[in-house]
Symmetry: C3
Subunit: 305 residues, 3 copies
């Protein structure tokens, strides 16, 4: 999430009553998760196992639970609970506020776009031209939709991500303040769920087509001209490259990369990165020609005379 | 889709600026896909591989991208892009129009039928007697519902089918102008999606019962007294015969036939036609007694002392 | 379901024109299914195979299709069709009535709870404090929601259970008159379906977190601090104990018990009870370390040089 205007290190630290390492006026442009963080942004880390990853990321500020050495180009904010304070900073800049209207008055809607009855549209949503948004759709805050987009009934764009920290006694939610971006010529079926990024943008790339009852997790980026069949579930933080074809009821675990033009056959369960242009099958998924050989050998063993 | 009144070959051809082979006044009653086309109707074909299938179908008119020899009982319409022109003809007879009202004023509703709050009903929908349509349901244009039907909250009846042509640079949608027919005594759970036929009718047969979160693809015909558990996905153009039982999370690929009284065990993935009265399991699904033997042999091999 | 006030054996029997065995004034406090029945309540049984189970249950009254010997502490109601008469008694005490308002006027809502636009709330629903109910949610009659609960858009709480009796010529629905209870600090994603109990209470325990597109069947009880990922399907009458973790697209068959802290890996299909603290995988699911060994042996056999 980019701040509306840059903030100083001093100001952000004072929001959460934290000490910091760096110049008072160190400029901060936004806040983000480790998967998507860019220069100028804050990232958080609360486990020594991931300290290096955070320190070596593109982040300019690391919100961390220990004062450690770091490059002079980066600043640190020292917190006894970076997870809690990440939520506090996010809530400060994007507080959830109840909405009375079915359609927020600040929505921007392009020419020839049709909004059918009973669509809920949250604040600061942008919708391009020549779109059709069918009845009973929900578009949560900050959703961005391009031109020539079709979203069928009952689909929820921009629900909160499923991201929790186990506190032992209970789970704490990492609150979602990111958004969803749906590029031009995308079509999405009925009763799908596309979660917003926690701090970044869940994206469905230009010309991709999604069938019904599909789950797309927070911060996942789907490339251009993908074809995704019904009841597919894609977890959070995945990178689905361009022209990928995913058949029905496939599941893809979080933070995986699926190469360009990969094809994933129905009901496969993907638990590792997949290469460009290959066809996969099975749960756990592997190259389909290998899996077919495995299925054949089992049948031979079981049914031999 | 049947036209409101018969059309001549000359008139239909002029709509799309196409040449034709046949009598100017050759009567055309409607338009349909190859899976469902009937006498008097137009079908389209744009790949030489399927020319014979189209020419030998029940269709009376073939919208085709090459002038070829055909039976004197059939007419041809010659188009450089039959897919595009099929869409144009469909859109001419059933243009999608935005609707302002939550319930279209032309809906026909039978006696003692209850429509709970916040149901969207499109144009020319018919609902029989003694039905309950729960809140947040969507019934798209032309849906037909019999008597004693229950549809639970959030279910979408008549969403557009998932049917695209790969143009290389992008996907083109085959626009849906068909409908959904739900026969008497059918009950459908919450948050299901039943897509309308592309030009024909997706049907759920008398007395069938569907649980929650089920996908039924375009033009699929489900028979009478079927029982379908939660999260089942049935692709487009399937024929599910009578008294079929399908357990949870089963997936069925497109254009398959499932025989009468077949039973498909949970999570199976069906990739071929299934016979009457047999029980199936696995992904890809096979007769369950065979699959059980395969599972046993694997366990024996893996865990032998 | 508890009756608003206790009823006599004579009165209940007269409702359905049935004979009975027991004192006219035998007190009856409610009615329930065999899975959940308690002392003071009626249970029904219509197959000799289950007579003993019903007679030995905690039920005080057995609605049965044959006069048989039973303990003097129990009463019998003799019916030629206990299934039909169970429905009749239920309908007498909890008749479904159409609702005109989007939010029933008798709903109780706690402090600081936010109800976003376009939420449907049925009669006698209670919602605690500090909750957020997002747009397009449906809360059916008698739903109880604790404090600090979040329910995201499109989710349906309290749909009718999927429970039918095969009459040969058709299926008869066991009508749902139970409810759903969602305890404190539960969070539920978008487009989920949580069915009400048939006569009892479907429960989601304190602090449990559910992702999107999840199915929870009638009368299932989910314990405290469970984590359930997207597209999981849990059938009816299950007992999911505390701190269970269920990954994406898992299916769990009806009436099973999942032990405390069990972990079920993605896409598993659970067909038997699972033990505490173990990790499971596969369809049908088994201990994951066993299944991994099986997968390894298949790969070795298929791909050996």
């Amino acid at each position: 999430m980019k701040f509306a205007e840059p903030q100083t290190l001093k100001k952000i630290s004072s929001l959460i009553n934290a000490k910091y390492v760096g110049d008072d006026n160190f400029q901060i442009e936004g806040i983000n998760e480790i998967h998507r963080v860019k220069k100028g942004e804050i990232v958080f880390v609360d486990h020594p196992k991931y300290y290096d990853k955070a320190l070596q990321s593109a982040a300019s500020v690391v919100l961390i639970n220990k004062k450690i050495a770091c490059s002079p180009e980066k600043a640190l904010i020292i917190s006894d609970d970076p997870f809690r304070d990440f939520n506090l900073i996010n809530a400060h800049f994007r507080k959830f506020e109840p909405q009375k209207e079915m359609i927020s008055p600040d929505v921007l809607i392009g020419e020839n776009t049709i909004i059918q009855p009973n669509v809920y549209i949250g604040k600061q949503v942008k919708i391009g031209s020549n779109c059709i948004i069918f009845s009973n759709v929900t578009l949560q805050d900050y959703t961005e939709i391009g031109d020539n987009v079709i979203i069928q009934s009952g689909t929820v764009i921009g629900g909160d991500g499923f991201y929790y920290k186990n506190r032992g006694t209970h789970y704490d939610r990492l609150k979602s303040v990111g958004n969803v971006k749906i590029e031009d010529n995308v079509e999405i079926g009925s009763n799908c769920t596309v979660d917003r990024g926690v701090t970044s943008t869940t994206t469905i790339g230009e010309g991709s087509k999604l069938d019904n009852l599909i789950q797309v997790g927070h911060d996942t980026v789907i490339g251009k001209k993908c074809l995704i069949a019904s009841q597919v579930g894609i977890a959070g933080c995945c990178n689905i490259k361009d022209e990928v074809v995913i058949w029905g009821q496939v599941g893809i675990a979080s933070s995986l990369t699926i190469g360009n033009k990969a094809v994933i056959l129905a009901q496969s369960g993907v638990s590792k990165n997949l290469e460009n242009k290959k066809t996969y099958f099975g749960s756990p998924a592997d190259e389909s020609k290998k899996v077919m050989k495995e299925l054949a050998i089992i049948k031979r063993l079981a049914h031999k005379k």
